[in-house]
Subunit: 159 residues, 2 copies
DNA sequence: GCGATCTTCATGCGTTTGCATCTACCTTAA
DNA sequence: TTAAGGTAGATGCAAACGCATGAAGATCGC
């Protein structure tokens, strides 16, 4: 691999990081969250995307949080009545997490307002083509990040 | 604005978020960080990019952390001898933050290893063209996020 | 079928974070 | 010049986090 290709990769990643931090701050500053932290909302949103209850470790894949921290965050949301922990009938170790009606309603309410802010920010900055590019790029990067080290080894062996 | 353009904007943002979380986990799992947390490294890296000492609030722009948390993080790094807090001669309220030689050396050491991991992940996922697109898109999004609400109002009034 | 190992989630504990607030300093204007 | 308001950073304190570890169920090999 050429040195400049590595450099471009690092510049692209830094650009993504900067955009992420910058927009996250902007979104966090909007007065739409009510009693929810963005992390809590993230959990509710992730659950709302799936029809079937999620396992804790599945939820953990999407959230940037340690397993114990996520476990306790879920605790707190359950205590507030926004989701339910149900023992998994097929795996005695596991829990299934499902939004309650209150949780679903809360996600919709906050999510609707948040989506407006996201649309405002992103459409103001990017063309339609760029939005499409970003979505495709994000998808590829996420797939790369999700690959296990073993999978990456196989992938590199092919190159 | 059309409904579908808003929807695409949200999909693009979600894609960025997923990529961010996924790759951050991967990078965090790499055994290259030594005694540094990624947030601490982020501060050292930001300082290393600038020749002149940074003010605390300038540092805060790039870091996703509250002002008090950043203040204390800087405290700890200063106690460990990785950076220096110097009272700003031009503003009695402020501090100037500069890497010590030890801090600069530590950033280089860890940063070099980290850059290798970033390059591996990003080049494996993206073409050169996509990397260029991502860098441009990130730049535009960051500029949008950094704009003050007043600036955004003016911007929207023009549309 | 049974011990060894792995996986999933919870818990103890020290550290770090965010919110609210405080102090000190700068800026503006009368 | 000085009072009013704004900005930079520090600090008290409760909440949340990460690391290490534990308990309990699943899975694999012999």
């Amino acid at each position: 691999m050429t040195r400049s290709r590595s450099r471009r990769a690092n510049e692209a990643w830094e650009s993504l990081l900067t955009a992420h931090a910058s927009l996250m701050k902007r979104f966090a500053a909007e007065p739409i969250w009510g009693e929810l932290s963005m992390r809590e909302y993230d959990v509710l949103y992730t659950l709302s995307k799936h029809d079937e209850p999620l396992r804790l470790f599945e939820l953990g894949r999407g959230v940037l949080l340690s397993q114990p921290a996520l476990s306790r965050l879920v605790d707190r949301l359950a205590e507030r009545g926004l989701l339910e922990r149900i023992p998994d009938p097929e795996d005695g170790r596991g829990v299934r997490l499902a939004l309650t009606e209150a949780g679903r309603e809360r996600q919709r309410r906050v999510g609707g307002r948040h989506a407006v802010g996201v649309a405002r920010a992103v459409t103001a900055a990017l063309t339609d083509e760029e939005m499409a590019q970003l979505e495709a790029i994000g998808r590829k990067l996420a797939a790369q990040g999700a690959a296990t080290p073993a999978q990456r080894n196989r992938q590199e062996a092919v190159l």
